[in-house]
Every structure is written in C-alpha cells, then in structure tokens.
C-alpha cells in the first residue's frame, strides 16, 4: 500500500513538473526533457506490439549472452578456487577486462564479428562474466573452516567436499552475481543495438531519437521497455534463486529463527 501511494505520488509530481516546464516556463523542447506520462503511455499502448517484439529480440540475445557469461564466470571461479595458480594467472586479466569501456569495445567487437546477433551476445556475456565470477569465488571461499574439518574427519573425497559442501555454499554468492549481471546484460545488448542492428529495443530507441521531438514519446517508451527488461531479468533471477537455494536467511519465515 505505501508503495502504491509512493508510486502514484511520483507520477502526479512528474505530470505536474512536465506541465510546468511546457506551459508555465515554456522551456524549449520541454517534452523531450520531461514528457507527459500519459502521452508516453499512449505511445506505449499504440506501439505495444512493436515494442514487445523488439524487446523480445533484445531480451533473447541478452539472455543468451548472459547464460554464456554466467557459465564462463562460474567455471572460472571454480578453477580459481581449485588452484591459486589459476587465480594468480586469470584474476588480473579478469579485473583489467572490466576497465575497458563497453562503449569502445562494442564497435570493435562488431567490426570483428560483423554480426549484430553475435556481437550482442558476446557483449552481454562479457558484462555478465565478471560479477558472476567474483561473487561465486567469494561464495566458494565462504565455507567455514569447521565445515571443512567435518568433511576431513569423515575422510571425504575432494569431489564430495566440492559437491556436498563448497558448491551449495557458493550458491548465495553465485546468485548475487547473477542478480547484478542480469540487468547489465540487458543494458549491454541495447548498447550494441545502438551501434547498428536491425532488430531490438536499441534500434527503435535510436531511430526515434533521430526523428526528433515529434517522436519523443516513442523514444521514452523504448527507455521504459529497456528498464522493464532489466527489472524482469532481475526478478527472474530472484525467482530462480528461491527455487534453487531456498534455505538462505533472507527467505526464512519470521519468528522461526534460532532461539
């Protein structure tokens, strides 16, 4: 209920500010700066089909890249946790890779692969890789010494220690990585679309930006779609986390905690 009131209040405030800029202050290009919500929503409704179709393309590519990036990130985390040597070798490069601006990397990559599809997937994967890897590694390292000693006391084999202790213990880390990475992957895919593609939210976003003030409502609609896709990807990860690792403290019912 408070969220509803808060949201509605924000919308009313937005409408009022928009009206103020346009009618009272008569700022040039007022609607491009702060458009009427109802106009944006109208554009959103009128072109819902197109937006959904292009959004799906973006989401699909981002998703594919996200899966690849997550798999690579988790795998590298496992390798780094198994061997200090791998960690020393790979970690500086993993960090350095994050220093390269995506905005610069995207056109380079596009120039190499010459395929919007592949470029989008690669960039989404590239963005995903690092947060997933770092957080999973931290999860793998989070195992308490006594939990390991217990396994040692049972003369457990290394692979059972991995599968029965370290991997389950790393799931919260893995999922915090995935939740950070999922919306980033969507942003990454849109960014590549802005560089030149035929389909995707980024394409209509750019097109409507070029057409100028007359298309400002449609432009804002595409921004909203981009944001919604990001939120959707996050919620999807949260839902999967609840299914896969429901034993985490934040999912526990209140009052049932240890006494």
């Amino acid at each position: 209920m408070p969220t509803m009131v808060w949201g509605l209040g924000l919308l009313v405030l937005w409408e009022a500010a928009s009206w103020y800029l346009l009618q009272v202050r008569q700022v040039p290009l007022a609607q491009s700066k702060l458009p009427y919500i109802h106009e944006v929503l109208r554009a959103f409704a009128n072109y819902g089909g197109t937006l959904a179709k292009e959004g799906a393309v973006t989401f699909g590519n981002a998703g594919l890249g996200f899966l690849l990036g997550s798999a690579a990130g988790a795998l590298l985390a496992i390798l780094m946790s198994l061997s200090k040597w791998v960690e020393h070798l790979a970690f500086p490069y993993a960090v350095a890779s994050q220093m390269i601006p995506i905005l610069g990397l995207a056109p380079i990559l596009y120039g190499i692969v010459h395929d919007e599809q592949v470029a989008r997937i690669l960039i989404a994967g590239y963005i995903t890789f690092f947060p997933v890897s770092i957080n999973t590694l931290r999860g793998l390292r989070s195992v308490e010494p006594s939990a390991l000693e217990l396994m040692y006391s049972y003369a457990a084999k290394s692979w059972s220690i991995y599968f029965k202790l370290k991997l389950p213990a790393s799931l919260p880390g893995l999922f915090s990585g995935l939740k950070i990475a999922a919306p980033l992957a969507v942003t990454g895919a849109i960014l590549v679309e802005l560089m030149g593609a035929r389909h995707g939210v980024g394409v209509i976003m750019l097109r409507n930006l070029y057409y100028g003030p007359s298309h400002t409502y449609m432009f804002w609609s595409t921004v909203i779609v981009g944001a919604l896709l990001g939120v959707l990807s996050y919620l999807l990860m949260s839902a999967i986390e609840r299914l896969v690792a429901p034993w985490q403290p934040e999912f526990r019912a209140k009052g049932g905690d240890r006494s």
């Binding site: 040692y152 006391s153 059972s160």
Partner: protein, 259 residues
C-alpha cells in the same frame, strides 16, 4: 570402575606441540602422555590456553604433533581417521544450512555410499536416540541451539564410531540446557557404549559426565593431574547436590592451585 588398565583405545605418548610464531615459539603442549581405555568416558578439563582442544584435534588428526606419538584404535591418528573410527562434535553444531536435519545426520553415511533407504532408517533411529522425533524434515535454522547440537551428536554417531570426540559441545548453551543435555548425553552413551573424549572448561560438567578427568594447566599446556570419578552410574541430577560431588569439585579445583 573403569581405569586405564583396560584395552587402550587412545594412547598419547610424550606429545609436544609447538606453534612457531615470528617472535617466540608458542608451546601449546609439552610432554603429554595419557591412555584412554575402550568404553571409557573421559574429560579433558582446563582453562583456556591449556591445550585441551589442541589435544582433541590431535586425536582427530585435524592437526599433527610436533613430537610424540598418537595411537587411536590401535592405528595412527591418520589411519584411524581414514577408517572413520571417530565421530566429532564441535563447539558449534556446524550443520549445513541447505540440508534438512535428517540429511545432516546421515551426511557421513552418504559419503560412505550407504543406500538412501538405509540412511532413512538410520536417521529415524538416531532422531529417536537424541530425542528429536519428528524433526527430520526441518531445516537447521528452525531448531533451537540445544536441538542443533543434538543433531550434531546424532550425525557424529551415525557411522557408529568406536570413539566420540566432543570439543566443548555445550559451552555455547545456557546452563539449564547444558545440564539437561549432559543427562541426555549420558543416556545416549549408555545405549551406544563407545569411548568418549569430552573437552570442557566446566569442572562440574566434567565430573558429572566422566569416569576420569584429565586436568590440564596452561603455559605451557601440560597434564597436571588425573582425577577418578567414583560416582556410580547411571548418574542422576540429584548427584550434583551430593557431598561427594562437591568434594570432587573441591579436589579438582585444588589441583589448579598454584597454576
């Protein structure tokens, strides 16, 4: 009265344990020799820094001594660990969050490759033994601290070890819970009849539980005396108030004088 004249289950001969540190060498244990008979319940008692936990960890092969020899169940400490001769209970329950109580209890059996139906049967039996019938499906966090520690005891007993090593298992619990669990531990032990080595810093706890109490003193950690506890079994709550009990407390406390 059980004494060390029976078949020795654990033999420590002239154990020395040094931790090299930058400035000085810390001597955790010096010239400790002791024998524990099969089926005996003994306590290692002493203030912090006396090396009682270190001694237990040596028996468990979690650490190795600087000098001296250890025999556990007629083998070296390592062979005994690999042969799963002992079950260990730590100060914290060390339960795996992602496993239900039942799955925590049978973790050692799972590692040994015991079939699921058999594990299920064994879990029911052990839950019964530690008084947690009906809690098998719960997650660890849904249990109180005392119940969690009972799960840890059940887990340690699941592979029917010859020896039960307990490292201050009840020290994190309140006094009432601790006394109740002392009684329950003795009732469990009377059914299981294995050798128990119990580390504690509570004089009354060590007397109530044990056949013999090894008193250790710190700086450097060494064995200062051994007290026979001639109280009859089964031990009852009322014995805690007997003159004999108080006499034993005074006797053991006296052995700390001049430390």
């Amino acid at each position: 009265m059980v004494t060390a004249t029976g078949f020795p289950e654990i033999e420590l001969a002239d154990i020395g344990m040094h931790y090299p540190s930058d400035a000085t060498e810390v001597i955790a244990l010096q010239n400790v020799s002791l024998n524990i008979a099969k089926g005996e319940f003994v306590s290692l008692l002493g203030p912090s820094g006396c090396g009682k936990t270190t001694l237990l960890r040596l028996m468990a092969d979690l650490i190795q001594p600087t000098s001296g020899s250890i025999k556990v169940a007629g083998k070296s400490a390592k062979e005994a660990r690999l042969a799963r001769k002992y079950g260990i209970v730590f100060q914290n329950p060390v339960l795996y969050d992602w496993r239900r109580v039942e799955e925590n209890i049978t973790l050692p059996l799972e590692l040994m490759g015991v079939k699921k139906a058999e594990r299920k049967r064994k879990a029911a039996e052990l839950l019964d033994l530690v008084g947690l019938q009906g809690f098998g499906d719960k997650y660890p966090w849904q249990l109180s601290g005392g119940m969690q520690q009972r799960v840890a005891i059940a887990r340690a007993l699941s592979m029917e070890p010859e020896i039960l090593l307990m490292d201050e298992p009840f020290s994190a619990l309140d006094e009432f819970t601790r006394e109740r669990l002392n009684e329950e531990l003795l009732s469990i032990w009377s059914q299981v009849k294995n050798t128990v080595v119990f580390v504690t810093h509570s004089i009354s706890e060590s007397i109530f539980l044990s056949d013999r109490v090894f008193v250790l003193s710190p700086h450097p950690g060494r064995l200062s005396s051994v007290a026979d506890i001639p109280l009859p079994r089964p031990r009852t709550r009322e014995m805690r108030n007997s003159p004999e009990f108080f006499g034993l407390i005074a006797q053991i406390r006296g052995s700390f004088e001049g430390v």
